[in-house]
């Protein structure tokens, strides 16, 4: 609509950020005592909670167990109060299934599943407040939760979304920017090796701009990694303090 400028002439976005600036990220691990591992992340106004159970015996059908590795089971749900309009179905709808599938693919790539044959790892992610970058927040939260559970991973999995407006690539889209209808890229990265775990895009983007957008998303994901790394070390330090002497 006329008047809503996603990127002003001076280079500021709707919330005052620059093109490549991330939102304020705050994260905590070990927030949910009953689960094996849990984490809570706030990325700007997007708040996500991830909970991990496992590795444990296969529940449900034993026949589905894989003989050489663990089965990763992900469920994604959004709280009914998370979006502007109250959501009727928190989970089980098409979008949630797809997200769950994507999360599973992402984490199957990162978790060392060979170490736990014939077992199951459950990852439940819930979005408490959705303000754009839902997938990215979920992945970041789930990474922290898996680390909190002590399950070995190849590397952190860090995700970020990116878009393209007026010839500039924007990193970490908020809901307003997503709703504007431009192209959005969701990217999940293993930072140490620079390998992509998942890459997804909506809407149309000219191939000449793809490289730029990917660069922006990758750089943002690396910045998220720096942050998550700090959070993990802080948590371990605290835990060690509590346990020590």
């Amino acid at each position: 609509m006329a008047g809503l400028e996603l990127l002003s002439d001076q280079g500021y976005r709707v919330d005052g950020r620059r093109a490549g600036e991330l939102r304020k990220i705050q994260a905590r691990m070990g927030v949910f005592a009953q689960a094996d591992g849990s984490a809570y992340i706030e990325q700007g106004n997007t708040k996500a909670l991830a909970v991990v159970y496992g590795p444990h015996e296969m529940r449900g059908s034993r026949s589905r167990a894989l003989p050489d590795r663990a089965l990763v089971n992900c469920q994604y749900s959004m709280a009914t109060f998370s979006t502007g309009e109250r959501k009727r179905r928190p989970h089980g709808d098409r979008k949630a299934c797809e997200m769950g599938l994507q999360l599973r693919q992402t984490f199957e790539a990162a978790i060392l599943t060979q170490l736990y044959p014939r077992s199951q790892i459950d990852i439940y992610v819930q979005v408490l407040q959705a303000d754009g970058g839902n997938y990215a927040a979920c992945v970041n939260a789930a990474t922290l939760a898996v680390l909190d559970a002590g399950i070995p991973m190849r590397d952190f999995v860090c995700a970020c979304s990116a878009g393209f407006v007026d010839g500039t690539a924007l990193a970490d889209l908020s809901h307003v920017e997503e709703a504007a209808g431009g192209p959005q890229v969701a990217l999940a990265l293993l930072p140490a090796s620079g390998q992509l775990a998942l890459l997804e895009m909506d809407a149309r983007l000219h191939e000449d701009h793809l490289q730029q957008v990917l660069e922006a998303a990758s750089q943002a994901a690396r910045d998220v990694h720096a942050l998550l790394d700090r959070v993990v070390r802080q948590h371990v330090r605290e835990a060690a303090l509590l346990l020590g002497d």
Binding site: G16, R17, E21, Q219, A226
Partner: protein
Amino acid sequence: MKARNRSIHGDMVVVELLPKNEWKGRTAALCENENDDKTPGESPSEPMPTGRVVGILQKNWRDYVVTFPSKEEVQSQGKNAQKILVTPWDYRIPKIRISTQQAEALQDFRVVVRIDSWESTSVYPNGHFVRVLGRIRDLEGEIATILVENSISVAPFSEAQMCEMPVNTPENPWKVNPKEEQERIDLRKTHLVFSIDPKGCEDVDDALSVRTLINGSLELGVHIADVTHFVPANSYTDIEARTRATTYYLADRRYDMLPSILSADLCSLLGGVDRYAVSVLWELDKNSFEIKKVWYGRTIIQSAYKLYYEAAQDLLDGNFCVIDEIPEFKEMDEKSRQAKQDELVWAIGKLTDIARHVRAKRDSCGALELEGVEVRVQLDDKKNIHDLIPKQPLEVHETVAECMILANHWVAKKIWENFPHQALLRQHPPPHQEFFSELRECAKAKGFSMDTRSNKTLADSLDHANDPKDPLVNRILRSMATQAMSNALYFSTGSYAEDEFRHYGLALDKYTHFTSPIRRYADVVVHRLLMAAISKDNKTEIKENLFSSKDLEELCRHINNRNRAAQHAQKQSTELFQCMYFKDKDLEIEERCIADGVIYSIRTNGVLVFIPRFGIKGAAYLKNKDGLVISCYQDGCSEWKPGSLQRFQNKITSTTAGGESITFSLFDHVTVRISVQASRCHADTIRLEIISNKPYKISETELSQQNSLLMKNELVKEVTRSVEEAQLAQEEAKVKIIQEEYQEYCQTKGTSLYTLLEEIRDLALLDLSSSYAM
């Protein structure tokens, strides 16, 4: 515009003549471009038949290069206007209406559009956007514009084509096939074959040989690269070559008709290696040089020397120190060196004698020597122009050219004899006498008379029209004669009567192109015809599938069309480089922009001037837009003052209100300043201003090196260099910007608008109830 009735330049239309009292004439004034309204009050020349278009038989719309209107003009059309009127690069095409939302983004770009329709209710045609070419004034973009405007498409050769190509690498070198050895005549041991070409030439089409036979006669041989052996009819390469029809030479680059493995290596008759060739061998009487016998066929040759023109000329003149520079001689020992040298010198000398004789015979029939001989450009490895083959100042140029003309002539006779209705020949129809009127007037101004009734009389008149004080006069007259000539064209013998086969300029009854199959497709077709003729003679089966007369006619039309496009493109690219050269110079380095010019035509409000140093022709106004006329002082400086002009037959006089008057006559030398008239939507043009009525004297050292074509050389080199420098600077600037932006990534600590806003938001969530309680 109305009379054109929605037809566009290039369409085939039906015209209805208006009644005689409505006929109009052409104005004899200079105008900036065709969009300017003709100033009323100018007395036009004689009325010409005038009509209007009533129907279009065949639309010939093509891709047009256009530019978007500048920002100010867009404003007037309404913001976010969907439909924009774009201006085509070619003046003759009307503005086109396209719908686009990218007008702002594409402000400074040249784009390609196509026309869809032209409603009868609309002033402009409708079209659509196809693709972006490049920035305005960017060298690559402008050259792409020239190519698109001439419908030249030069995509890289396809995979399928490259698979058809033979291989010649150090691991897998190409060798003569034993089967071919049996079918071809082997000249490698028996003949001294060598080629003479411009220095640095890679595609050697032709080689010569001469030797004495046992019976005392001379044997002259012309050997041409055997392209049809490597390019079978209707293969991918053949079809692509047919579409291109010729190699395109622009001022700074060339686009080959055949992939370079052929054009620069296996087809090229390089020195010291075996190559396939198609040869024409004549047996001549050793004293009178009369041709007794002729033989055509496929051969295998090994060219002994790849000479360049200057070296061959030196050897001819007896100046043997150039021998040290010829690579083939470097590896020889002393004994054989002398023998080989003598052999080569004898051969060159004999060739020259034969050529002189043949030329004399052609001259007696009226051959013309005009400016505007086919110019070939050679590039060095940095893609700068290395050399242009100029009009022939050296005798060896004449020698080689004569031998080629002889070969073309005899092949023409051969293929016509065998295929009277399917042969591809080249004709040059005699010019229309009306076109000679300007030439005759100019010559009369200097007191020469031109007899233009036949090619012989014209040649003689041009030879006599020499002013000993000013050699430029003859040059200008020859160039005017060239303008009056018709174009030489390829044609199919099935479409014309025999007396129309004549080539006016060369004074031959039959002529074709046979000697450059690497860069002309017509020659490839003639090779195939020749091979078929030889098979016919030997009563063997004709393997080539030849074109029928109708197909051949269509093919000739296509080749002629492509040749015309190639010539236009070359001219336009030369003008582009000239404009780019003069643009930066402007008025800083004064001396580069000022040159001596010769007036060669008079118009009502100005003159046309030819600048020999750069080879530029342009218009110089004597009366400018404000109505002021030029007036010159005694010391030669000029000024614009109110006054009037008076035009006479051969001169024009400018009289100021103050009573001073100055006269410019035909062939006067004046000093002009060269500047560039920049244009956003069209090509830049050169503008000339007369700054003095005295000739421009430059220092002797510069004068001695002046050759207009050498200047073109330097011009192109300079322009290419400055463009490269500009590109480098741009890239550096881009890198800097990227580095700046990088620092803004990630969560910015410290000062950032976002963190500030977040802090304010946090403040809003503070629990203040405790403070109220106080």
